[in-house]
Amino acid sequence: MMKAKFELPVIGKELRRKHAFINSIYYTYKLRCELNLLKPFIIDMSETEVNPTISKSTRLPRKRFYRARAHNNPLSDSHFPVPISPSHVDYCLHYPQLFPSTGQADNSKKIQFADVGCGFGGLLISLSTLFPKTLMIGMELRDKVTEYAKEHISSLRVANPGQYQNVSVVCTNSMKYIPNYFKKGQLSKMFFLFPDPHFKEKNHRRRVTNPFLLDEYAYVLEDGGIIYTITDVEELGDWMKSCLENHPMFEALTEKELEANPVVKLSSSATEEGQKVARNGGQAFQAVFRRIVPTNQAS
C-alpha cells in the first residue's frame, strides 16, 4: 500500500512550519494534487474502493483533497455557467428534495440567505439547522472549494435524512453576477465573512465590499435586510465599516440589536476561518448593518 510521503499532510500545522524539507514536499504534493497527477497513485488504497476523497469513518469529504490557494482572481469569470436572470436559477438542482421537478415554477419559496465567499461552508451548515425553513446558498469563486462544500452537504443530507435540504453552494463570481441570482429585495441576510483583504492600495477596488458593490447588495437585500461582515484584519474591518457608514442605504445595528441577534455570534464562530482566528488568539472586527430606504429619496 502506498504510504510514506503521501501521508504527510496528516501531520499538524506546527510540524509543517518547522520542517522545511517536509514543507517543500507538502507543497509539491499540494500542487500535484491540484493537477490531478497523483490520482493514479492515491487510488491504490485497499481499504476503500469508493472515492478515496471521502473518509471511510466519517463519510465526510477529506479537506486535503480539495485544497486550493487562499486567493483567487476576482476578475475571472469564464469557467462556470451563469444564469441569465434570477428566474433561471435552477432550484431543483440545488434543493432536490424541496423542488422535485423542473417544471414547477414555485414562486412562494425563494433563497433568502446568501453567504458570499462561503469557503468550505461552515456557516451555512450551522445556519441550516438554525433556520430549517429558510433557503440559503453559498457563493464561492474557487471551484475546488465549492466541490468540497457540495460533497460535504451531500454527505450530511445522506447521514441526516430530512435535514440540510435547504442549503446549497454555487461556484460563481459574486462580484459580477449577484443580480443574476437574486431578484430585487429577495434576500433577508447576506454574509461577508473573512473576505480577502487585498492589502495593496491599488487592489482595494477588488475587495468584495466596496462602495460600488454595496449598491448591488442594497438592491438584492429587502428593506430591513441585514448584512453581516467580519474580518480579522483591522484595516479591512475599518474600511468595510466606513464603506457601509457612508452608503446612504445602510445603517448600523445598535448594540442592543446585536446582542439580541443569534446569527451575529455564529458569524465569528461557525466558519473554518473564524475557528482558526480563535485558535490563534486573534481579534475579529465585526460590522453588521441594516438595509434602509434613504430618508430623502433624492440623496
Binding site: L75, S78, M175, P179, K184
Partner: protein, 420 residues
C-alpha cells in the same frame, strides 16, 4: 499570438450624431480622432475651436459622440482619455474632462447640466457642467464591476440613468438630485440578453407607459423590449433571423451578426437597427399597447457595400442618417474611411428611399466635409466592415479558455512559500 488582437481593437468604427432640432441643424461624424461637423443651416463645414491647453482636439480614436437633448451641447470622448464638451452655437470646446481610463460611452442629462461618461473598466463618472470651467474633475457615479460599458442613456423623464455592459446586463439606476455623491439606488436590472449589450434607445413615453419603454440591441443578434421600472423583458425580436442573415438554428457563424446600433424614429414607434453583415437597416415596429416588437421591413442599400456602423436622426425630419467607416484599416496605411448615406421617409409617411448623394440635405458639400473625400472605394469599405466586426468581438466577447489550458497555465505558477 497575444499581440495581434490588441492591434485589432485599436480600430474604431465611424460614428455619426445628428442635431436633435427639427430643422436638422448640424451633422457630426467622428472617424478615428477626427471630428467633422457640417452646419446644415449655414450650408458649410463648421470649424471647431479648441483652445484648451491640455489636449486640443482628440489625439486618439473617438469612441462616443452625442448631442444634448436640448441641442445646445455636443460631447465627444474616446481612447485619448478625454471627454470634450462643445457648444453647438460657436463650436468651441467649453470643457475638457480627463478620465483615468479610455472612455467607451457618454450621456448628457436631459436638462444639459450633467455629463456622464463610462470607462473601459466599468466605472461611470459624472461631471457638473454648471458653472462652465475649462477643466473639470469628474466624480464616480456607479460601477459595473470589471465590465466594459457599451452604452449610457438617460430615461426620457430624467429619473433614471441606464448603463449597459458586455456582461449581458443593463442596469437602471435612479439618477439623484446630487449625482456627485453617487447614484446608489438601483431601480432594476434588465437581464435576458445572452451576449454583450451594444446599444440602448428609448421609446418615448406615452399615456400607457409614462416612463417609456427601452429597446436594446446585443451581440446575440436580438433586439429586446423592456419595462425599466421592473426590469421585465417584454419582447424579443430575433432581427438577424428575421432579416434573413441567419438560419433559425444556425450555429455555423455564431458571432457574425451582432446588432451594432439602434435608433428610434417617430418617437420610438419605429426602431431602425443596424446589424453586422447587413447592407442596410432593419425597421422594427414597436407596439406600445401590446408591448411587442415586429419587423416592419428591411431597407437595403443597393449598389455599394454599406454596413452602417452608426445611426442618427433628428426627431421629425423623417431622415435617417447612417455612417460606415473605420479609423484605420489594419495592415495598410490607409487614412480613415467614412461614408455617409441617408434614408428619407423613414417615418413611414412616405416610401423609404435611400437617397442618392446629390439629394441628401447638404449635398455633395456635406459628403466632402464629413467623409473627407467625395469618392467611394467599395473594396476598402468591405474590408472596413470586417475590421470593425473583428474589433468589436475582440473587445466585447469573452475569450473562452478550455479547462485543460487552465491547468497547463497553472503549472508555471510558483506557489512555494519557501523560495530558498
Amino acid at each position: 499570438m497575444e499581440s495581434e488582437p490588441k492591434k485589432e481593437t485599436e480600430v474604431a468604427p465611424a460614428l455619426i450624431a445628428v442635431h436633435p432640432d427639427q430643422s436638422s441643424v448640424a451633422v457630426a461624424v467622428a472617424v478615428g480622432p477626427h471630428l467633422r461637423v457640417f452646419d446644415l443651416a449655414a450650408g458649410s463645414a463648421a470649424s471647431l475651436i479648441d483652445d484648451s491647453d491640455a489636449v486640443p482636439f482628440h489625439k486618439d480614436n473617438i469612441r462616443a459622440v452625442r448631442f444634448a437633448a436640448n441641442g445646445k451641447l455636443f460631447v465627444s470622448a474616446g481612447d485619448d482619455k478625454t471627454v470634450k464638451v462643445w457648444s453647438t452655437q460657436s463650436w468651441r470646446c467649453i470643457t475638457t474632462v480627463s478620465s483615468e481610463k479610455r472612455v467607451t460611452a457618454v450621456a448628457i442629462s436631459n436638462d444639459g447640466t450633467f455629463v456622464c461618461f463610462a470607462d473601459k473598466f466599468g466605472l461611470v463618472w459624472v461631471v457638473d457642467l454648471d458653472p462652465p470651467l475649462l477643466d473639470k474633475k469628474p466624480a464616480p457615479l456607479l460601477s459595473h464591476y470589471c465590465s466594459i460599458i457599451t452604452s449610457l442613456e438617460f430615461s426620457p423623464d430624467g429619473r433614471f440613468i441606464l448603463s449597459a455592459d458586455r456582461d449581458f446586463k443593463i442596469r437602471v439606476t435612479n439618477f439623484p438630485n446630487k449625482p456627485l455623491n453617487g447614484a446608489h439606488q438601483i431601480q432594476s436590472f434588465c437581464l435576458g440578453h445572452t451576449e454583450f449589450v451594444s446599444c440602448l434607445a428609448f421609446v418615448k413615453s406615452s399615456q400607457e407607459c409614462p416612463q417609456g419603454l427601452l429597446v436594446s440591441g446585443s451581440g446575440d443578434s436580438t433586439v429586446r423590449l423592456w419595462d425599466i421600472t421592473s426590469g421585465a423583458l417584454l419582447d424579443t425580436c430575433e432581427v438577424a433571423i428575421k432579416a434573413g442573415l441567419l438560419e433559425s438554428n444556425g450555429k455555423a457563424e455564431e458571432h457574425g451578426h451582432a446588432v451594432t446600433d439602434l435608433w428610434t424614429v417617430r418617437d420610438g414607434l419605429l426602431v431602425a437597427v443596424a446589424i453586422q453583415s447587413l447592407h442596410g437597416i432593419v425597421l422594427l415596429n414597436c407596439n406600445v399597447s401590446s408591448q411587442t416588437l415586429s419587423v416592419a421591413k428591411v431597407v437595403s442599400v443597393a449598389g455599394e457595400a454599406f454596413v452602417p456602423t452608426c445611426l442618427g436622426s433628428s426627431s421629425s425630419t423623417g431622415n435617417l442618417w447612417m455612417v460606415t467607416g473605420v479609423s484605420s484599416l489594419p495592415g495598410s496605411n490607409n487614412p480613415s474611411l467614412a461614408r455617409v448615406r441617408v434614408i428619407s421617409g423613414i417615418d413611414g409617411k412616405q416610401e423609404s428611399v435611400v437617397l442618392e448623394d446629390e439629394s441628401i440635405p447638404g449635398g455633395k458639400k456635406l459628403l466632402e466635409t464629413l467623409q473627407g473625400t467625395a469618392s467611394v472605394d467599395d473594396n476598402a469599405f468591405l474590408a472596413a466592415a470586417e475590421a470593425v466586426k473583428a474589433a468589436m468581438y475582440n473587445l466585447l466577447i469573452k475569450k473562452q479558455y478550455p479547462s485543460e489550458n487552465r491547468e497547463y497555465r497553472k503549472k508555471s505558477r510558483n506557489d512555494r512559500k519557501l523560495k530558498s
